[in-house]
């Protein structure tokens, strides 16, 4: 049978119904379903005469308050970072000391190249990354608790209110918050956004959300340059990411991908007490991903860096690129090398520095060694951290963007704009900062 006959008959039916009821059939059908359900409810459900004011309602009156909502969100996030760093610093130092101790005898292994590979490459590079397990662990314990209690949904709700005012889809922020863990699942979660334009914009700005892989880099430099303010400095990285993500989403939506935004009602789950096993299961997922990445991709990249360095090629590569970053203050070849390999996986930035400076004589932490070898001031370190936050997403994220948008154009656009943004903001931070310091 010709499908045209069916479509035509359908169109006639629709026109007829519209004439009779003055509404489209879709609405009438939905009404019939709702009618059936509300009738059903009367038969099967007995509600208390007065709905109890639940604990959830009482907490939400506070958490979702028009004026308090966002400051509370920021305060909670800040407390999380502060706590994470205060507790984890001694643990990190302990692990580092352990790797130094392991590397001491291996450095005497013959032949010399093997000793260097194990000491500088494996212990220096991979070890430097693994040392940050306590930060990863503690941060995700805190974030899992916030998620499992239902608070994160509130955070998305209060930010949604703000985003809606500037014409953005609130569901995007749910994806963005997931980006704190890893950008890949965050980009995939944008599938729940029904409006294709809102979805595209969300995908484009998700890489600006600081993920777990970038955390070790911040931790490394925050510890060496901002001892007393580590929590605050790392919090500011996450904050800059969120603000730029929302700002650029607004800009893209205005200039590049205009059109009406979808409606969205944020569902607020009741507050639930998180269970220990639930939280640990989440945290274990994250920590295990971190460890297994350190053992696979980070390990391979670090060995590659070690090899290129051993063959004296690495410095040439770095020197060729380094001048580009001079305006931002980190125009040294080692920093350029770290940025190049960081695209493979952001943790390798720590691994690269670990490999390059493990041999440079061990006084003080890796961050301090880097600082004195490259002559960095806290301002340069901060500009470098901003660069790490914003520049080109890692290859896993890039391939996810390609898969989800199905477009090379938007994938290349993301790579291009993040690189330009990272360079510009880092340079601005450095130049403007120098006026004051």
């Amino acid at each position: 049978m010709d499908s045209q006959v069916v479509i035509q008959a359908r169109d006639e039916s629709l026109a007829h119904l519209r004439k009779v009821h003055g509404d489209d059939a879709e609405t009438l059908i939905a009404d019939a379903r709702y009618g059936f359900i509300s009738g059903l409810m009367r038969d099967v459900l007995e509600r208390p005469a007065v709905e109890k004011v639940t604990a959830t309602d009482r907490i939400d009156r506070f958490m979702l308050n028009r004026w308090l909502g966002i400051p509370l969100f920021l305060a909670i996030l800040f407390a999380v970072f502060q706590l994470t760093f205060v507790v984890s610093v001694p643990l990190i130092n302990l692990i580092n000391a352990g790797f130094d101790w392991l590397g001491e005898p291996t450095s005497r292994i013959a032949p010399a190249w093997l000793g260097s590979l194990i000491t500088d490459g494996v212990f220096g590079g991979v070890g430097a990354v693994l040392a940050f397990i306590p930060v990863i662990f503690l941060l995700y314990v805190a974030l899992s608790i916030l998620e499992d209690t239902g608070y994160m949904a509130r955070a998305a709700f209060v930010v949604d209110r703000l985003m809606h005012k500037i014409g953005l889809h609130g569901r995007s922020f749910v994806s963005l918050i997931l980006g704190f863990g890893c950008n890949v699942p965050a980009i995939m979660s944008s599938r729940t956004i029904d409006n294709p334009r809102d979805r595209l914009v969300t995908i484009l700005v998700t890489p600006l959300m600081s993920c777990g892989a970038r955390l070790p880099v911040y931790a490394l430099f925050a510890a060496a340059f901002f001892t007393a303010y580590q929590g605050l400095i790392v919090f500011s990285m996450y904050g800059i990411g969120v603000i730029l993500a929302i700002g650029l989403a607004w800009f893209f939506r205005k200039r590049l991908i205009s059109g009406e935004s979808g409606h969205f009602v944020m569902e607020l789950p009741p507050y639930r007490l998180p269970t220990v096993t639930g939280v640990l299961a989440h945290v274990w997922d994250r920590v295990w991903a971190f460890i297994s990445r350190a053992g696979t991709i980070i390990f391979s990249v670090v060995v590659l860096i070690w090899l290129l360095n051993y063959l004296n090629i690495l410095e040439q590569i770095g020197r060729a690129v380094a001048p580009v970053f001079s305006p931002a203050g980190f125009g040294q070849w080692q920093a350029a090398v770290a940025l190049i390999f960081g695209v493979l996986a952001k943790e390798t930035i720590v691994g690269a520095f670990g490999t390059l400076f493990a041999a440079a004589g061990d006084t003080g932490s890796l961050g301090q060694v880097i600082g004195s070898a490259l002559g960095w001031t806290p301002l340069v370190a901060f500009a470098f951290m901003v660069m790490i936050l914003l520049y080109v997403p890692c290859v896993a994220t890039i391939s996810t963007i390609k898969r989800e948008t199905g477009s090379w154009k938007w994938t290349l656009f993301t790579i291009g704009y993040t690189l330009a943004l990272g360079w510009t903001v880092a340079t601005l931070v450095y130049r403007v900062g120098r006026l004051f310091i």
Partner: protein, 221 residues
């Protein structure tokens, strides 16, 4: 069997209880965006379990809804378990009604009974099951209560021992007349009897683009 349900109704917790998997569960809508598979053995029956993305309805507006719907329609699982949040019954039933319209072998897992009870709700489970014409299993997935009963029902439905007739929801005289016309036109013709004709007619009237596209494809071939 397939697990369907609204976001944050505890589908993934039910999935983990059934299969012993440890998928990420969040107090947070939208955690499951792609479908996940697992399996378990119960009373000698091998049960394949597919966890679908959480959706509020089965229209074709967003990709997660399309994923969920295509699976129910194309893979035709023996049983579809709709995980329903008992403390939010009214809103959750919208999806259940749509699944019934699709003539899926539907079992309703009435989850979070504890939360509903603590709010003072009293739900007449037997009456709910009678009015919907499909089995309803009360449970508290977070404490792994009701998992065994759910599996018993699923196996019973798959084996044909427990009836799932479902209801034929009436949309009112005028719409019913148009449904009848369209139903006659599509019956047996489009896409080769894969979809229930009444459901196709309803979807046509809902101006579902996905279905129109499929009908066009079938008509050409």
């Amino acid at each position: 069997m397939a697990l369907a349900g609204n976001p944050n109704s505890g589908k993934t917790t039910v999935f983990n209880n059934l299969t012993g998997a440890r998928q990420h569960v969040g107090n947070w809508p939208g955690v499951t965006v792609a479908k996940k598979e697992g399996s378990c053995t119960f009373q000698g029956h091998h049960v394949k379990v597919v966890d679908l993305p959480g959706v509020y309805s089965l229209t074709a507006y967003s990709q997660d809804e399309v994923i969920a719907r295509d699976y129910v329609v194309d893979a035709r699982p023996d049983v579809v378990v709709d995980v329903v949040d008992a403390s939010n019954l009214e809103r959750n039933l919208y999806l259940a009604v749509q699944l019934l319209e699709m003539k899926a072998g539907l079992v309703i897992a009435l989850n979070m009974m504890d939360v509903a009870r603590s709010r003072g709700y009293v739900i007449d489970v037997t009456e709910l099951s009678r009015l919907l014409g499909t089995p309803v299993v009360p449970m508290v997935a977070a404490r792994n209560q009701g998992t065994k009963e759910l599996l018993e029902t699923v196996v019973g439905v798959a084996g044909g021992e427990i009836p799932v007739g479902g209801i034929n929801l009436q949309y009112g005289q005028d719409i019913e007349a148009e449904i009848a016309k369209l139903e006659k036109l599509v019956d047996g013709n489009f896409p080769a009897g894969q979809y229930p004709p009444r459901w196709l007619a309803v979807k046509l009237l809902e101006e579902d683009e996905e279905i129109v596209r499929k009908i066009r494809q079938a008509g050409v071939g």
